[in-house]
């Protein structure tokens, strides 16, 4: 993922949730991208990096423990709960097919 892609991904989330926030994204080191979101409810630092086990999302809020997620769904959930807890989420339900 490039810094521009991460920025667009995060900007898309902020727009979905209608959160007014300052978003700053830059490359950090050889393998990492750092994003900072300054929103009314929280300030969040996100580091996306290719670790030995694969891509990893490290999400850190001021005064809170850093959380690491192996896939995009994790940071989406984390950010929604921090920045826009009033926005509803949904769990996908697949209806069973003819075979049950």
């Amino acid at each position: 993922m490039s810094p521009a892609e991460l920025e667009a991904l995060l900007a898309g989330l902020l727009r979905l949730w209608q959160v007014e926030a300052a978003l700053c994204v830059r490359r950090c080191g050889d393998q990492g991208i750092l994003a900072r979101i300054e929103a009314p409810r929280a300030a969040v630092k996100i580091t996306y990096r290719i670790e030995p086990f694969g891509p990893a999302w490290h999400v850190e809020e001021t005064g809170q423990r850093r959380r690491t997620y192996p896939s995009t769904i994790g940071p989406i959930r984390h950010l929604r709960e921090s920045l826009a807890p009033e926005r509803g989420s949904a769990r996908v339900v697949f209806a069973a097919g003819r075979g049950g």
Partner: protein
């Protein structure tokens, strides 16, 4: 097990012409074998000369159609019709549900998808929404129910176009749904092919997506239709994770997802994706691609969707899946 009965949901605001549309449709020989489920018999305004047989809960028409009022639970009403069909008591090939004018079609479609009693026995063919050409612009502006009905529709039908030029209502409807075909029904008359659910619902969806291009259409109130067209096949697990991430991010603001997907593990047989909010019908597989175009085509209707964002999300999830393998 027999093929699932195709089911059309006919929705539209109070007085927008659903009943008139149905009334004409039921007299058309092409629609013989249709079972119509309404909230109450009186709503359909059946012509007496068409009545062949009336029971407490069922009206049979001389055209070969049936009308049935919802009794309590819609799913149970459908299950009862299917059971009676199975015993040979009644016969029908397709189902139409006429919703009430204030109904939100989403819970109806979700209930049908999730009810175990209907599993594999009915298949959503399409959602048709009527928009009154005379009062439609004002109704859409003033009533969220009407906007939601229009936004969910696979097909929009402008009614009463014999009374007024259709352009203002067409423009108003387009603000909430840019993707659906927009048809006109003056005096309640419409080519039955547009109401007639196809035998294979997925084929209809495939045909409607044939001309889809990578695009975005912005509507009012943040509603947007985003279309994603891509050449590369999608790994099955990436598609599932993508839909989960989409639902997690969008929540109830995701109204519809529909499309044809080229799955990496089965590129010769396209998968049909059909979701209403977070509830997805079981993936349906077509025997073959409807045209030479084998690209994945997905349409998303939701609030505050940014152009290109679903594509970005899918690409990222694909990377994560590839890294994990």
């Amino acid at each position: 097990m027999p093929a699932p009965a195709p089911l059309t949901v006919l929705t539209g605001f109070l007085g927008s012409g659903k009943t008139t549309l149905l009334k004409h449709a039921l007299t058309d020989p092409a629609l013989a074998g249709t079972a119509v489920i309404v909230n109450e018999f009186g709503a359909v305004g059946l012509d007496h000369e068409l009545l062949e047989r009336a029971e407490e809960d069922l009206v049979a028409l001389s055209t070969g159609c049936l009308c049935c009022a919802v009794r309590g639970d819609l799913s149970r009403t459908i299950a009862d019709l299917l059971a009676r069909r199975a015993t040979g008591e009644i016969a029908f090939a397709r189902l139409v549900i006429e919703t009430s004018g204030l109904a939100d079609p989403a819970p109806i479609v979700q209930a049908l998808a999730l009810d175990p009693a209907l599993r594999g026995r009915v298949a959503l063919a399409r959602i048709v929404a009527t928009v009154d050409a005379v009062t439609g612009p004002q109704t859409l502006a003033n009533h969220p129910e009407a906007r939601k009905q229009a936004a969910f529709a696979d097909t929009l039908v402008l009614t009463k176009t014999d009374l007024t030029p259709p352009q203002p209502a067409a423009q108003a409807a387009r603000r909430y749904n840019a993707a659906a075909p927009l048809l006109q029904a003056g005096r309640g008359r419409l080519d039955p092919a547009h109401l007639l659910p196809p035998t294979i619902p997925s084929a209809h969806l495939a045909a409607s997506l044939a001309a889809a291009t990578d695009a975005v259409a912005e509507h009012t109130e943040g509603l947007a239709t985003v279309t994603l067209v891509r050449e590369q096949p999608v790994p099955a697990v990436a598609l599932t994770l993508f839909l989960e991430a989409l639902a997690e991010a969008c929540g109830p603001d995701l109204l519809r997802v529909k499309g044809l997907v080229q799955i990496a593990e089965a590129p010769e047989t396209p998968a049909v994706v059909h979701g209403v909010q977070h509830v997805f019908h079981a993936l349906d597989w077509l025997d073959a691609w409807p045209t030479a175009d084998r690209r994945t085509r997905l349409v998303f209707i939701g609030r505050h969707l940014m152009p290109g964002w679903p594509r970005l999300l899918l690409t990222q999830i694909e990377r994560e899946v590839a890294a994990a393998q």
